[in-house]
């Protein structure tokens, strides 16, 4: 062993000649230049957007005064007609529940058509994917607006709005889950001579079932949140009351309704998290990124110990040797209670909302008729009002995203378990975030409009606040996933916390930061199209006018513009993401 005694020849420098002198700045390839140009354009856009939406320091102070006055008119909070509030709250929940069920029922076959490994033909997967993308691009409140006009005021319009817009997310995640399965079991079943459908039922469904349930429960959360506002446009639920009180300037009662909404949203979130944990063994408080949280529900990912425990329980449990039915282990009991319980809730929901499943079914025909009328025949609908509305929508989204993210980034470091300077900071920050997210963006917008009047300014404020709640959570989650090793190494060099956060944490979390920021841009473009429905600026105002006058071509035209904007921003952000990662 003479490795250590190797003779060392005269060493030559490895520094390239052009770097022997000069400032040692990193090289600048063309991609970076393009990105810098995009960044510069973005910066200009932000300045323009802030001017366009009337945002300024003085406006903020004036807005603050207005908000104080609104609070004065709102406090003390008043719970009049509590029984009616509670009845409507349940109606809201049932709307969300039936809507989620509708979305799941449509999403399951759609996902199997869309997934690359189970689609019967590429001619089906393409349209299926297109439909999913279209459903995702159109905000739920726009669906609600159209359906209220098409099939009348009431819960049915709300249910359909929730159901259809939920397809965009549910079917996409379902298809992703199907594409990630282990192909082995399916091949084995096909090898026994079973049909394709049989192989999917036996080889695929059991693999994806846990993630299907997890995604559905997760979407129920989101649906409940959005369904609280649908009543504002007449689509049933507790939002009806909010609209009634606000238009009657009864602010104390309105705040009472808002308080009930916040409590209920939190309650549903906790219950759904508890059920997910109980059934799927996924820890709802494992602060992981959403995608990981859902990915964690896949079999084989997490819960290996759980499977082992299950097997042990099954072997211990006694079962009837004659009928050979599987024994009632704890997991099977839980699953059965969940299954039958969900069905019972669904039946009760139909009964309680006085909705017949037949009516639900026939309404799809009516929607189809409206959908055909939405297709514009020419460009006569395109007016300067529409163009101005779209421009304003874009400005609101850009301004709100920037303000929200500027606040979110530093906040996220305080809300990350592994970076927060103290435990209590972390818990305090996280509870604030939960509270913030319990309040739907549009309700914040409604309150701001009540405080400072109509226009884009309250829209930007509301969207910024919503962005902070959502973005901070996503950013903090990704910070928590940073690996500890490089951080230890940087700390070991004797750095301060701040230096370590910049050198050890940020570079590692950068891909997630970029993805989150671009995702937030996407979401905000979508949300800002509906702010106008409550008077907070943007294209939504033209939209609500058009539905009131039953100008379907204008509605359709605006939808096409919204879709085009959402889609092009999505493509642009996709390109930027690819360059940065």
């Amino acid at each position: 062993m003479t490795l250590t005694e190797k003779p060392q020849g005269p060493r030559t420098s490895t520094i390239p000649p052009e770097m022997r002198s000069g400032s040692l700045r990193p090289p600048l390839p063309w991609r970076r230049k393009v990105l810098l140009v995009i960044a510069a354009v973005y910066a200009v856009a932000v300045v323009w957007a802030i001017g366009r939406t009337g945002l300024s320091i003085t406006a903020l102070f004036e807005g603050y005064g207005d908000f104080r006055r609104l609070l004065d008119r709102m406090l003390p909070i008043e719970f009049r007609n509590l029984s009616q509030i509670i009845r409507l709250a349940f109606e809201t929940f049932f709307m969300a529940f039936i809507g989620t069920a509708v979305a799941v029922v449509i999403s399951v076959p759609l996902a199997f058509f869309a997934a690359r490994n189970t689609t019967p033909s590429v001619f089906l997967s393409g349209p299926a994917r297109g439909f999913i993308v279209a459903m995702r691009a159109i905000p739920d409140l726009i669906f609600a607006l159209i359906f209220v006009r098409a099939i009348g005021i009431g819960v049915l319009a709300g249910i359909l709005a929730i159901g259809l817009s939920a397809i965009g997310m549910v079917a996409k995640l379902y298809a992703d889950a199907i594409e990630q399965i282990d192909e082995g079991p399916r091949e084995a079943i096909l090898a026994t001579g079973a049909s394709q459908v049989r192989a999917i039922l036996t080889g695929v469904i059991p693999q994806v079932l846990p993630s299907f349930i997890g995604i559905a429960l997760f979407r129920l959360d989101i649906n409940f949140r959005t369904s609280t506002i649908l009543g504002y446009v007449g689509a049933g639920g507790i939002g009806t009351l909010l609209q009634l009180y606000l238009s009657g300037l009864q602010y104390r009662k309105a705040l009472g309704v808002v308080a009930v909404i916040v409590v209920l949203v939190l309650a549903v979130e906790f219950i759904s998290a508890a059920i997910r944990k109980g059934i799927l063994g996924a820890d709802p408080h494992s602060h992981k990124r959403l995608s990981h949280r859902i990915a964690g529900l896949f079999p084989g990912g997490k819960g290996r110990g759980n499977v082992a425990a299950q097997a042990e329980a099954a072997s211990r449990a006694s079962f009837n040797r004659e009928t050979l039915r599987p024994p009632w282990t704890r997991d099977r009991r839980r699953m059965a209670i969940f299954g039958w319980g969900s069905l019972a809730v669904l039946v009760y929901a139909f009964w309680s909302t006085r909705l017949s499943p037949v009516r639900l079914f026939t309404s799809f025909g009516e929607i189809f008729v409206v959908a055909t009328r939405l297709v514009p025949r020419d460009l006569s609908w395109l007016s300067s009002v529409v163009v101005r509305g779209m421009v304003e929508t874009f400005a609101i989204a850009i301004a709100a995203t920037t303000i929200g993210l500027l606040i979110s980034f530093p906040l996220a470091f305080l809300c990350a378990r592994n970076v927060a300077p103290a435990r209590w900071v972390y818990y305090f920050g996280r509870s604030l975030l939960v509270m913030n997210r319990a309040l739907p963006d549009l309700i914040i917008a409604v309150l701001f409009v009540s405080a400072v009047g109509l226009g884009p300014f309250p829209g930007v404020m509301a969207l910024s606040i919503g962005t902070v709640g959502f973005a901070t959570k996503l950013l903090a989650d990704s910070i928590e996933e940073v690996s500890q090793g490089p951080r230890d190494a940087v700390t070991a060099a004797g750095t301060t916390r701040l230096q370590e956060a910049f050198t050890g944490v940020s570079p590692q979390a950068m891909p997630a930061f970029v993805s989150t920021a671009l995702y937030i841009v996407d979401i905000n473009i979508r949300s800002s199209t509906i702010l106008g429905i409550v008077g907070a600026g943007g294209i939504g105002f033209s939209l609500i006018q058009a539905t009131r006058t039953l100008n379907w071509e204008l509605v359709g035209g605006i939808l096409i513009l919204v879709f085009a904007m959402v889609y092009s921003i999505e493509r642009l952000s996709g390109w930027v993401r690819k360059q940065l990662l």
Binding site: M1, L3, T4, E5, K6, Q8, S13, T14, I15, P16, M19, S23, L24, P26, P27, N418, Q484, G485, P486, D488, A489, V490, T491, A492, A493, G494, T495, T496, L498, Q499, E500, F502, T503, G504, P507, Q508, M510, P511
Partner: protein, 271 residues
């Protein structure tokens, strides 16, 4: 400042993880003399990493005292702790360089503790430091990779970047935790040569945990063997035979498993 005497003094150090269910170090007494090259050997899970991580307060002992460069490590905090860490370089088995940063930025991160005033290392480093970092990269043979992203390097190259980062700190004591355990024998030899040569040139005290007995015997002035958290061998390397050293490695439990070094650390931080 040239130190004489002991750079490290451990007295009765005991470290428990998981509320006492795992004892990683058990009444360890150890003195390391200045300018000495000490190699720690022992089975996986014998407490080598835990011991090293106590010396810059990545771990805090359950009982006992740890003195490094004349300072009680466990009592240090804030600026004093940072000052100590600046004087103690640490090289990790998994290299622990920040993958998305360029090699130069990784080396520069070693100088973060030296920065003062407006240049906080948040956005940029002074020109002289960048030059210094490039020369260190050259010294480990990677001068031409300065602006390459460090996660595109091979394992041996990454560890060389880590060595440059540590030297960038201008430490007085270097701790190396199985620096070549994830590398193949040939690369291991090169990296160890590099590490020990630089440390000898800079007259640094080194404590390095190693599994390669031949490398250990070739370079070390002193060998310390650990087993189950206790010191079972502590002799000058000169005159030691391979058999003496291998005795430390004799497995009592053939299924010995290594702890994930970050799990207990996270738990400790959480409590």
């Amino acid at each position: 400042m040239q130190l004489s005497g002991d750079v490290v003094r451990l007295r009765g150090v005991r470290k428990e993880f998981d509320q006492g269910r795992v004892v990683a170090l058990d009444s360890v007494d150890l003195d390391i003399h200045a300018g000495e090259l000490t190699v720690l050997i022992g089975l996986s899970g014998s407490g080598k990493s835990t011991l090293l991580r106590h010396l810059n307060k990545l771990h805090v002992p359950t009982t006992g005292t740890v003195e490094v460069l004349g300072q009680p490590v466990a009592d240090l905090s804030g600026a004093n702790l940072r000052a100590l860490r600046r004087d103690v370089g640490f090289i990790f088995q998994q290299f622990n360089i920040v993958g998305r940063l360029s090699c130069l930025e990784n080396v520069l991160s070693g100088a973060l503790g030296r920065l003062r005033g407006p240049r906080y290392g948040v956005l940029s480093y002074p020109k002289s430091m960048r030059r210094e970092a490039l020369e260190l990269l050259d010294r480990v043979g990677l001068g031409d990779r300065a602006f390459q992203r460090s996660d595109t390097l091979s394992g041996g190259q990454q560890q060389r970047v880590a060595i440059a980062r540590t030297v960038m700190q201008k430490p007085k004591l270097v701790l190396a935790d199985e620096p070549v355990a994830s590398l193949d024998p040939e690369i291991s030899g090169q990296v160890m040569d590099l590490l020990f040569r630089i440390c000898t040139e800079e007259n640094l005290s080194v404590i390095c945990s190693l599994h390669q007995v031949d490398l250990a015997l070739g370079w070390a002035k002193r060998l310390v063997g650990l087993r189950d958290g206790q010191v079972v061998l502590d002799k000058p390397a000169e005159g030691l035979s391979t058999e003496d050293v291998m005795a430390v490695y004799k497995r009592l439990d053939p299924t010995g498993t290594k702890q994930n070094e970050y799990e207990p650390a996270m738990a400790a931080r959480g409590s």
